[in-house]
């Protein structure tokens, strides 16, 4: 990894004893990591706790840090693992609650619930509704599909970087992302068809 990467420079400075570098890294990455964690655990307060814990782990592991990958890849991997632990813990506490962690990648077809089942002219899918629809489907996707799509589309990570965060292969990432997009596209198509039929 090139030393002219600002994150790598900051991390190396932090490792060398410059504590202010951690604050700079936090200010650069807390927002993106928080929104990623929020999508995973679906609770703001929990996501904030996980965010803090992620940076505590960065602090604890600073001596072991090697600039072999982007800092953000390393950070998101830490954050995701913490979030998975949190979700697993929540599932153990409340075994009656199923989470998307239990769903297989293949059979996971989110069941979309529209805000209103009453047919009306307003039920035609417009931009706002599509956004809500996508957000709903996104939340119901299997965690790995959602995380892969998010890291690639929102955070701009390459497939290789997404594979590092998800601790899987690049081929698997390709599959996860295309399945996520296909699922969302199919749901939008179904909703649009339903709305059109209801109007007719």
């Amino acid at each position: 990894m090139e030393r002219d990467d600002p994150d790598v420079r900051l991390m190396l400075a932090f490792r060398a004893g410059d504590d202010s570098a951690l604050s700079d890294l936090y200010r650069r990455w807390a927002g993106p990591l928080l929104r990623f964690l929020e999508r995973m655990v679906k609770e703001r307060a929990t996501a904030e706790e996980l965010l803090q814990e992620s940076f505590i782990r960065v602090h604890q592991a600073k001596d072991r840090y090697k600039p072999e990958a982007r800092f953000s890849t390393w950070l998101f991997r830490i954050g995701r693992n913490l979030a998975l632990n949190e979700l697993d813990l929540a599932r153990r506490k409340k075994p009656h609650l199923s989470t998307d962690l239990e769903m297989s990648e293949e059979d996971a077809r989110p069941q979309l619930t529209l805000v209103s089942n009453t047919p009306s002219a307003d039920s035609i899918i417009d931009a706002k509704r599509t956004r809500e629809l996508i957000e709903s489907v996104l939340a119901e996707l299997p965690e790995r599909q959602r995380s892969a799509l998010w890291l690639s589309t929102v955070e701009g990570h390459s497939y290789a970087e997404v594979a590092t965060v998800l601790e899987t292969s690049t081929a698997s990432v390709k599959s996860l992302i295309h399945r996520a997009r296909a699922t969302i596209a199919d749901r939008i198509g179904d909703a649009t068809t339903s709305a059109t039929e209801a109007r007719a």
């Binding site: 604050s23 927002g31 505590i56 956004r131 996104l138």
Partner: protein, 205 residues
């Protein structure tokens, strides 16, 4: 075709498409005009997902979110400072929890070793090893191992004085004023260790 088309469109959208896959996608788009709609749908989804990312998932205005992030940073710094201070405090707590007699064991053991290795054996007194009745005992020096006068050492009153045991109930150290045949064996083994250590030291020198 749909599954494969979705895959190709997806890797194309992320600029991760291989040259052979590019050719295959171009062919599909040419042969199936509806594939262009699917591509537009995928592009639209990405735009919406990026738009969603701009908004907090569970509410909170931008200003409020920013101040919470800053508060989070302060919390992290406080935790790190606390963690940095903890090892010293923890050590102090452990010391406070430790029974007062435990350090004395270490001191007593060190004293015993010092006396054993430093103090001369003193006037030699006939021992059981020289007793004809026990002449075949293990007190005979090992072949090739020079005698250090150890078989007489056990009767040295100084050496006897540093053998002790710890009474855990009363937190006291009690000296033993009598020795069993096993005790003699142990001391002879210690003499051998002393010899080996001395020889190793000479080797280094």
């Amino acid at each position: 075709m749909n599954e494969r088309l979705d895959y190709l469109l997806s890797v194309e959208l992320d600029d991760e498409i291989e040259p052979a896959e590019r050719e295959e996608l171009d062919r599909l788009l040419r042969d199936h005009p509806e594939a262009a709609d699917r591509r537009a749908s995928f592009e639209s989804i990405d735009a919406f997902v990026k738009n969603i990312a701009e908004q907090p998932a569970t509410g909170g205005a931008t200003g409020e979110a920013q101040s919470r992030l800053e508060a989070g940073l302060a919390s992290i710094q406080a935790r790190i400072e606390k963690a940095s201070a903890e090892p010293v405090d923890e050590l102090a707590q452990r010391r406070r929890r430790m029974p007062s007699w435990i350090p004395s064991i270490g001191l007593a053991a060190a004293a015993a070793m010092a006396v054993y290795f430093v103090v001369p054996t003193g006037p030699k007194i006939p021992t059981k090893a020289s007793d004809p009745a026990s002449s075949s005992s293990s007190s005979q020096p090992l072949a090739g191992v020079p005698s250090t006068g150890g078989s007489d050492f056990v009767d040295n009153p100084i050496a006897l004085a540093v053998v002790f045991e710890v009474d855990e109930d009363s937190d006291t150290i009690a000296f033993i004023d009598s020795m069993s045949p096993d005790d003699f064996e142990i001391i002879e083994q210690l003499e051998l260790l002393e010899f080996l250590a001395a020889r190793e030291g000479e080797g280094r020198g």
